[in-house]
Subunit: 380 residues, 2 copies
Amino acid sequence: MTTGTVQGLEGVVVAESTKSLVNGIEGKLIYGGYRIEDLAENALFEEVAFLLWNDRLPNKSELEGLRQTIAAEASVPDAVIEMLKVLPKETNSMAAVRTAVSMLSPYDPDAENLTDKDVAQRKAVRLTGQITTICAAWARIREGKEPVAPRHDLTLAQNFIYMLTDEEPDQTSSDAVNVYLVLLAEHGMNASTFTSRVVTATGSDMHSAVVAAIGALKGPAHGGANKEAMKTFLEIGDPARVDEWFQTEVKQKKRRIMGIGHRVYKALDPRAAILKRHAKALAQSTGNTKWFEIANRLEETARADEYFIERNLYPNVDYYSAIVLYTLDLDVDMFTPLFVMARVAGWTAHIIEQMGGRLIRPKAQYVGETDLAWVPLEAR
Amino acid sequence: MTTGTVQGLEGVVVAESTKSLVNGIEGKLIYGGYRIEDLAENALFEEVAFLLWNDRLPNKSELEGLRQTIAAEASVPDAVIEMLKVLPKETNSMAAVRTAVSMLSPYDPDAENLTDKDVAQRKAVRLTGQITTICAAWARIREGKEPVAPRHDLTLAQNFIYMLTDEEPDQTSSDAVNVYLVLLAEHGMNASTFTSRVVTATGSDMHSAVVAAIGALKGPAHGGANKEAMKTFLEIGDPARVDEWFQTEVKQKKRRIMGIGHRVYKALDPRAAILKRHAKALAQSTGNTKWFEIANRLEETARADEYFIERNLYPNVDYYSAIVLYTLDLDVDMFTPLFVMARVAGWTAHIIEQMGGRLIRPKAQYVGETDLAWVPLEAR
């Protein structure tokens, strides 16, 4: 590797942003000026989306207006639902969501307006609602059930539970989904947000940028990690097996624990702490405590190990969000689409911030041959 | 802007690569060791794809094997064709292609294999054929015509002309398409290729990475530029109007000429020189010389102007490729999909090169508030 190559662009500052501050050393996260702890405690997901899009909190009527607009625009064209029904049931859920979101743009009257930031905000609102509907619809379609249309009187978190279960949303589940969405809505220049900004910097449209971001979030080293974390908990299967599993798999076989460690956080991810409390409360209220206990004991075991202490390896947001989502009875393959539902707020805020900015085009260091003489096909 | 921010990542080296060398100062382009002039003169597009995927030229039987496999695997699932037929006819062609390519993955048995490079190469071969079929199918569907299935006995360029016209492909058109595909197949760390690498670095799948790249290429500052260049030529409409248009629009109104100037090339883009010769030959063989004459006279006018001379602004690859594609009777909205057909070779080569590499995650400089006290909704 030449010295000039910046592996993974680590430490390179690519843009200024008013969206969020991630202080990985102190374990601090701020959206538009407000601590994540305050937002998780008090805010509706719609309130956080407003904050990210407008760089300020809404007043009461602005918030109710946004809630209504998101709910009203959450309907998805029939053609998109029909496409989802045609897909094989075993289709990867992120591939299904990626395709459905891509297919929204032909039906969005604003899709090809590439420059107007007010229009872009309208699209962000619409996409936020529509993606919720797509995620719930796919969760049902893949199980052979009919999708349920969104209601106009619900919050986004309530609407998701309603569209998922076709039942009146209960408070505990809606609250858990709302907190999850608030915590996952935004996180600085992560790989999917960066992807959406690279696409936007070519002057491309918001749907293209969001579809690209979905593709990036799908990766196991990014949004796919909550799914991988849950697979680990399922593999362990019993709180009593944690110590043995840790000794064999981690200490002897040197396996990584998915959901522990983060590129940026060298302290406890503040989102993990909040989600851990919610995971515990959910476990207690549902009586399904096994998965929380496995995760909790594995965390304690790892945090008592020198290797994890020395390297500042703590559970990240994926670790306890896996427990929250699984306790809500969501299939593991639906975990990353839930992340999409949340992060679309941050992506679209960054997309609008990036609009009109400079083309993002780094360089590659060419390390191949440079002067090969052409050899005709017959002579090879 | 803080001093630490690298605008557009200009000059930042993000990876080593054996795929291509772009020397913008000397106006030199090399794919895997071979000069672009040699490749354009001698190589089939399939030969270039082989070179990009394997870092060497194929022998005769390897090339024929690849040609056959691409042609045989170019079939697109019926469900994807049906989805294209459902879309509104006025759908942006890149949005249609993006959605169709995204919808391929549920039907690709290798789609969710994320780590095996041999499997990845198989997917690259398949995608290269299928994207040709999708582009030709959409070009027909949007005009209300039935799509035509690929033939097993043709080269990719011939197959495209065949599927587009439903007629035996003529040599002149196939050759022009082949040269276009060879010239556009690869170009270092451009914005769409970079996008595909950022997505791949999260561990995501090849379809996600290619879909993201399509979204980036769609932008007017990237692959959408050939479309914009053609719109300028159409606006001028007559070679005799070039001087007047240049004076009014460029000199007085300070409009940019789309297709002139490039982030990397500060000399004549070698691809533009080759495409110019082909555009001229096509114009002469078809008798439709008007568009070539407009482009040629506009180039001469611009190159005689101090502003363009001082800033080393030359026609880039989009400028004369617009003339080639328009003379082939392709609708302007199909120009960027043709670029996709070519660049999928380069994207997939870079994706395979990136697989297993480090997560690409730069930083943002947070410039918002940091310590706002929470204000309850009722108090706002």
